[in-house]
Symmetry: none
Subunit: 231 residues, 2 copies
DNA sequence: TTTGTATGTCATAAATATGTCACATAACTC
DNA sequence: GAGTTATGTGACATATTTATGACATACAAA
């Protein structure tokens, strides 16, 4: 499993624990990914850094402690929150865990609810820096948190409707939507406007995109609707 | 006791606990201040915000939970890490504590070493955000401790609300906030004022900023809200 | 109390966005 | 190519959103 964006990485050699945790996470709308050892975890983190790591203390090969230390040393992983999971309850271990760079420490068996609560507490603190919802397609960058669109380095000015329209298409690239579907998704249901109104807004969007050499991005599919090309 | 700068505030009605904790803290070079109830704590926090708060769950008058919630609601105290101390060990309480805004939760009796380790783990993470008394964006310098704003060398005079507003935007540059979000973050929740009031204060802020050649810093994003441009 | 500053709200002006129409173009059918 | 249909495009009246000045009230300092 390789989630697209924000997700929590569970690193533990015990399959049962991983399953239990992932189940609990998914019920709270968290994306979840698993790794059975430190090596696999490292690869996954490199490819797509998670928002938080749940790390088992004991693992074959590299121990959780060493792995945490390593993550803390690298600037690109340094700021990812780590919660350590372990059967070891002795005080010394807790302290060693925390000192190795973990942000929190939970002893097995732990309650899923407490785990979730601790995850949320950690994310609450660390998200503000990370929260950037950016979608990239074909040199086009749309940032939903700053309401900015950039193409080939230049800023593109869009009206509210055009922004929503582009966002919708960028969230579903390469898919054709009928005018009715566009209306329902961008304008919302229960709003009545002429279907041809979509054409006009597509026009306005295209015009704005032309200014930064994005010629054929929004394509017409005759008889079917429109599509944002990803090719 | 009123430490000058960075310090950790211990809020607990039990003197013995306070003494024990402060002893442990001072051995680790942490400054320490004590408060025996929420009311006193509030006054101290207002005068000189601590770097971290150790908060007892049970206190006469306002409970630790309610106090934590309150701190989380106010923007100026929102980022101070809280560790909750308690005799209550039941899972539900842990969760309630964490959900009320605490960052960590320790049950009495706890080992001073574990407490220290958890404090360090929290500070390690939160210091970068909190310690920055001075925020700089685009030739604008805002000093949260002296309530001064300077732009291109000149001092800018702002009213309290405008200052908080600017501070909020400077802490979250390049992000668009709706009027409602601005109200919640700058005025605080549970305060009812018209959304349009934000417009007026934005106007006053802009006017003040104009005097030092900061023309287009606070931008309107039609249909969405306002943004402090970082570009 | 007086004086001065700060704050929230309103009314109105100004700016911008929106939906629709009419007509131009392009695409498809036969 | 003529006829037919779907889409592109500019213009425009209207609606919506934001800017701004004024004002009454609250609050604090003198």
């Amino acid at each position: 499993m390789t989630p697209e964006n924000d997700y929590i990485l569970v690193v533990d050699d015990e399959r049962a624990i991983r399953d239990m945790v992932c189940m609990a996470l998914s019920q709270e709308q968290f994306q979840c990914a698993e790794a059975s050892d430190a090596h696999k975890a490292e690869t996954m983190i490199k490819q797509n850094p998670p928002q938080l790591i749940l790390l088992d203390w004991m693992m074959p090969g590299v121990s959780g402690i060493d792995f945490a230390r390593k993550l803390r040393r690298l600037p690109e992983t340094n700021s990812i929150p780590i919660i350590m999971l372990t059967a070891k309850t002795e005080e010394d271990n807790v302290i060693r865990g925390l000192e190795s760079g973990a942000d929190d420490y939970l002893t097995k068996p732990f309650s899923p609810r407490e785990l979730i609560a601790r995850i949320k507490a950690l994310l609450r603190r660390s998200t503000p820096n990370t929260t950037q919802d950016i979608i990239k397609i074909n040199n086009l960058i749309l940032d939903t948190s700053s309401y900015r669109v950039e193409g080939n380095g230049q800023t593109i000015d869009l009206g509210p409707t055009e922004f929503k329209l582009l966002r919708f298409f960028m969230e579903n690239p390469d898919r054709v939507f009928s005018r009715e579907q566009v209306l329902n998704n961008v304008w919302g249901d229960n709003v009545y406007v002429e279907e041809r109104t979509v054409d006009v807004h597509i026009r306005r969007l295209r015009k704005a995109l032309e200014k930064t050499q994005h010629q054929d991005l929004v394509q017409t599919v005759r008889g079917a609707g429109y599509r944002l090309s990803n090719k």
